[in-house]
């Protein structure tokens, strides 16, 4: 066993009250030449770290703490690790492992009574990890393939054909019951299990005019995963916005917003996507940008921080970030005009972490759903705990993600609702595979699809449950 590390080596230690227990001293490290974890370029802020009073209120909402019950996989434990890094501790594999294990769900930000901005801390830390940590070849390859695929619509589109053919072939059943993929390549198996049953793509025009009196002109982000895997959500968003009096502008040139890159410390990539997105919507001349994917909206609202060091974009990014609205947020601001037709259905509403925790949007979608005659809303127990999707976390960490997904699925099933409604494509994919595994038959829909069905007077059966 190695020598235990003490915070301060000097001074008499006969009384723990005075035994060098203030957290100011450097952590002694074995070799003096060892490189500290962080460089000087935007390390996690010491000032933000000092906001943490170690009360522990974050622990019960942290998905990894609920899984493993250990301090280093909790928000306050990770903050301790950041502090150690700032005080000169090296970026060991162990340290990185605990930063990587954070889902970035931000439930701790909601839970924290002291207002610790953990979101800013972990994002700064992730950038440092990407800069200074050498990952294993397997991990590198996995991440490289994810980031070569997901943010690019054309590549995702190219995948649609083979995926639909695979899904139509009956092979998925064989693959899943054999368990072969789980054994050979669990991360690949996770991806296979998450892929949604693809629907037909509806082509969106570049402008959808307002129905009746025009109340607003808005730009709409189509996103990458949303656009390719859940095209029906985009079509429904455009229809609902138009029905509520919005001219909807859908810039053709838009690409990925960079959410996955922002949330995984890939700074340059994130900056590139952010600039391109700002360019696309500035060219469209819209004052408001509407987003229907929680993760995208949350990172677009952070563009001011992403591009703070870019003199050409810093100001524009601030203006842009202020113009971003989640679709439920905008609809609540506008107020309802389009008539709602009844939908006799019980709905469990799932707060996507990047909508609830990151954007504080909880009441608006619920209020919009309650406006639908006949619709009964039910709350899901442990609503604050992440479903385990978390961007690409479920692909990189298949086993714990499955545990979290199954826990969420059990809580959803306990509501007895017929339809699960949420606002993020990642959650829909994650939760649907868990629900399927435990044999719960429940329909799945994005909030906006429910509103769309109600406005158009479609029957509940159009929203599932699936066969």
């Amino acid at each position: 066993m190695g020598q235990p590390t003490t915070v301060q080596a000097e001074g008499p230690q006969d009384d723990p009250r005075t035994a060098g227990v203030r957290a100011s001293g450097p952590v002694p490290v074995d070799t003096p030449t060892v490189r500290p974890a962080f460089d000087d370029e935007h390390p996690p802020s010491a000032e933000l770290i000092s906001d943490c009073v170690h009360c522990g209120f974050c622990l019960p909402t942290c998905p990894t703490y609920t899984l493993w019950g250990e301090e280093m996989d909790s928000p306050r434990g990770r903050i301790d690790l950041m502090k150690a890094g700032l005080q000169g501790a090296p970026m060991t594999d162990t340290m990185v492992q605990h930063f990587d294990a954070c889902l970035g769900c931000m439930a701790c930000v909601t839970a924290c009574p002291s207002g610790v901005q953990y979101d800013k801390l972990i994002e700064a830390t992730r950038v440092q990890v990407e800069r200074h940590h050498t990952r294993s070849p397997g991990d590198r390859a996995m991440r490289a393939s994810i980031f070569a695929l997901f943010p690019y619509k054309r590549r995702l589109r190219a995948l649609r054909g083979p995926l639909r053919a695979y899904q139509a072939s009956g092979l998925p059943k064989v693959v899943r019951t054999s368990g072969l993929l789980d054994r050979l390549a669990p991360k690949l198996a996770a991806m296979e299990g998450l892929a949604p049953v693809l629907e037909k793509r509806e082509k969106l025009p570049s402008r959808v005019p307002a129905v009746g009196e025009r109340r607003a002109v808005v730009g709409m982000l189509t996103g990458c995963v949303q656009g390719e895997f859940f095209p029906g959500v985009n079509a429904a968003t455009a229809r609902v916005l138009a029905a509520e009096g919005c001219d909807v502008i859908i810039p053709k040139k838009q690409g990925c917003c960079g959410a996955l890159s922002v949330h995984n410390g890939r700074q340059e990539e994130a900056e590139r996507f952010a600039r391109a997105t700002i360019d696309a919507f500035e060219a469209a001349g819209v004052q408001t940008v509407v987003v229907n994917a929680a993760g995208c909206g949350s990172s677009m609202k952070e563009y001011a921080e992403v591009l703070a060091d870019d003199p050409a974009y810093a100001e524009r990014a601030k203006t842009f970030a202020a113009s971003v609205r989640d679709v439920s947020e905008l609809l609540a601001e506008l107020g309802t005009v389009a008539e709602r037709h009844p939908l006799e259905v019980t709905v469990a509403y799932h707060d996507a972490c990047h909508l609830g925790h990151a954007q504080g949007i909880r009441q608006q979608p619920r209020a919009l759903l309650r406006e639908i005659p006949g619709l009964q809303l039910r709350e899901i127990p442990e609503a604050e705990i992440c479903c385990g999707s978390a961007g690409i976390w479920n692909v990189l960490n298949p086993e714990p993600a499955r545990e979290l997904g199954d826990r969420k699925a059990r809580n959803i099933a306990s509501t007895g609702a017929e339809l699960l409604v949420t606002a993020n494509p990642g959650c829909l994919m994650q939760v649907s595979s868990s629900l399927q595994r435990q044999g719960t038959r429940i329909g799945l829909a994005h909030t906006i699809e429910v509103l769309d069905a109600s406005i158009r007077g479609l029957p509940v059966s159009t929203l599932g449950p699936p066969d």
């Binding site: 066993m1 235990p4 915070v7 009250r17 009073v53 209120f57 622990l59």
Partner: protein, 518 residues
């Protein structure tokens, strides 16, 4: 634990050859590296890899509990999942003279779970199964890592709840509650943890597993359970607790009452209790605490209030209505300017959110602060509060007050900025002076947070040497090796005599003037 002033004790037992590293109240690494290594081997044999932590990076995250001023990195952390694993580690500690410290969720505010650099930190966060909820018996059987609020969640469907509700109830563990005899806002009417724990399975400091109490109340023989509850981890580690569940009241009314001053609010509190009404809770917050809570959770407390009372009445509807009438009248008579009644669960939750997040919320108005915990007779409230205000203005150190007014349990929050030279010392001085105030007004140095490491030095101010020696006899009876959470609760390390072996010369710690022979 109450004082037994003037108790005479006979001369202490003969000092044994207890190894210094097993008894010193130090955070220093002893020369018992071999013992430590042996305990590590035992732990690894008993538990999966993930249950034994020795990586310095990971150990660092366990260096403090909720009292972050004190930090010591433990030599080893173990996360047992069963009583057998936990007892096995403790037995190895006893065999090799290695100290151990128990920790639940690490939210304690007196440094009770501050690790030892030469010891093992035994964390119960993976022993979190609610074994049984016996509705008809109004009992629940819990593992020590079960979170306080989860007990209530598990019992609510059955019409019951677990009454002790520390502010940290959403995360603090039952084992920690038992060790600290935790209270909470509602202990005015319902009592502390000791009133709700009926039995416990205890791993003694020698590693034996014993049963104290049981499902039935008032077990014959010595009340060892009563001794263990509140012993701050010095008499062993509870691995199971059998607790009482309380019937959910028919009606609950939560009132938020605004006063111009803490004097008025204090007088109203005394008047309410004096009238014979026993609310479930009477909590007070002063202007500075209100400001912090507003900043944190936007609880919308009355504008311009110098103090607010949160009063909760519960019980049968008719009784609550009667109590409400009395409380409303007494508040008005004592100068309340606004009285709000929470009309639904959401409003009630918001009122409580302001109160329960107040400690941590102070982080919004001050970079650093000390949470003090003292208790005074309720009638001394206005006088002590004025004295605290005087201390604050003469020293320039801001003090926010949040407390359980109904039973005189003060929680002054002493604010400071550790970045400013001397500010920490000034704050500690004020914090200490507040405790002196409590003692001189007939109170005690802790109401519910425990003594831990933080207040050990104040124990002699409250107790005579004889009192402390008597307590020490109890400790030695349970823990002759002095390995269970050493350095906590008592100011001076003492050595127990019941250790085998002959004394050849004075103990090195006695020679060094660090310990007394006992």
């Amino acid at each position: 634990m109450s004082g037994t002033h003037g108790t005479q004790t006979s001369a202490g037992p003969v000092l044994g050859d207890t190894p210094p590293e097993a008894t010193a109240a130090t955070g220093e690494v002893g020369d018992n590296a071999a013992g430590m290594a042996a305990v590590g081997r035992v732990a690894r044999a008993l538990m999966p890899d993930t249950g034994v932590i020795s990586d310095p990076t990971q150990l660092r995250t366990y260096e403090c509990d909720g009292l972050a001023h004190y930090r010591v990195t433990p030599a080893l952390v173990v996360l047992p999942e069963t009583t057998e694993q936990l007892a096995g580690v403790v037995r190895a500690c006893a065999e090799h003279g290695v100290p151990f410290v128990a920790r639940g969720s690490g939210t304690g505010l007196s440094g009770g779970a501050l690790p030892r650099a030469d010891g093992v930190l035994v964390v119960t966060s993976r022993m979190r199964t609610i074994r049984e909820v016996r509705r008809a018996d109004q009992r629940a059987v819990l593992e020590p890592g079960v979170i306080n609020l989860d007990v209530t969640r598990a019992a609510t469907g059955e019409g019951y709840y677990y009454a002790p509700d520390p502010s940290s109830q959403q995360i603090c563990s039952i084992g920690g509650n038992l060790a600290e005899n935790s209270g909470g806002a509602h202990c005015l009417k319902y009592g502390f943890t000791s009133n709700h724990v009926l039995g416990a399975e205890l791993v003694t400091p020698q590693g034996d597993v014993v049963q104290l109490g049981g499902l039935a109340p008032d077990a014959p023989g010595y009340d060892l359970l009563g001794t263990v509850v509140g012993s701050e981890g010095t008499l062993g580690i509870a691995t199971t607790a059998t607790v009482r569940l309380v019937r959910l009241p028919e009606e609950v009314r939560t009132l938020l009452v605004g006063f111009r001053s803490t004097d008025d609010a204090g007088a109203a509190t005394s008047a309410i209790i004096g009238s014979g009404v026993l609310p479930a809770a009477i909590e007070m917050m002063d202007a500075l605490a209100i400001e912090a809570a507003e900043a944190a959770v936007h609880c919308n407390y009355p504008d311009g209030a110098g103090a607010v009372l949160v009063i909760e009445l519960d019980g049968p509807a008719a009784e609550v209505q009667h109590e409400y009438d009395v409380v409303e009248r007494l508040c008005q008579e004592h100068g309340s300017f606004e009285l709000r009644l929470a009309i639904d669960a959401t409003e009630r939750a918001l009122i409580w959110k302001g109160r329960k997040s107040a400690f941590a919320a102070v982080g919004r108005i001050s970079p650093d602060y000390i949470v003090q915990d003292g208790v005074i007779p309720r009638t001394a409230l206005p006088e002590v509060l004025r004295a605290i205000a005087d201390l604050s203005s003469s020293s320039g150190v801001r003090v926010a007050n949040v407390f359980h007014a109904g039973d005189g349990n003060l929680h002054p929050l002493v604010l400071f900025d550790d970045g400013k030279p001397g500010a920490g010392e000034a704050a500690e001085k004020v914090s200490g002076a507040i405790l002196d105030l409590c003692i001189t007004h007939g109170g005690a140095i802790t109401g519910e947070h425990g003594v831990g490491v933080d207040k050990a030095a104040y124990m002699p101010k409250m107790f005579t040497d004889d009192d402390l020696d008597t307590m020490q006899l109890v400790r030695c009876a349970f823990d002759p090796g002095g390995i269970a959470n050493p350095g906590k609760v008592f100011p001076t390390p003492r050595l127990c005599g019941e250790v085998p072996g002959k004394r050849k010369h004075a103990h090195p710690l006695v020679e060094a003037g660090l310990a007394d022979a006992f």
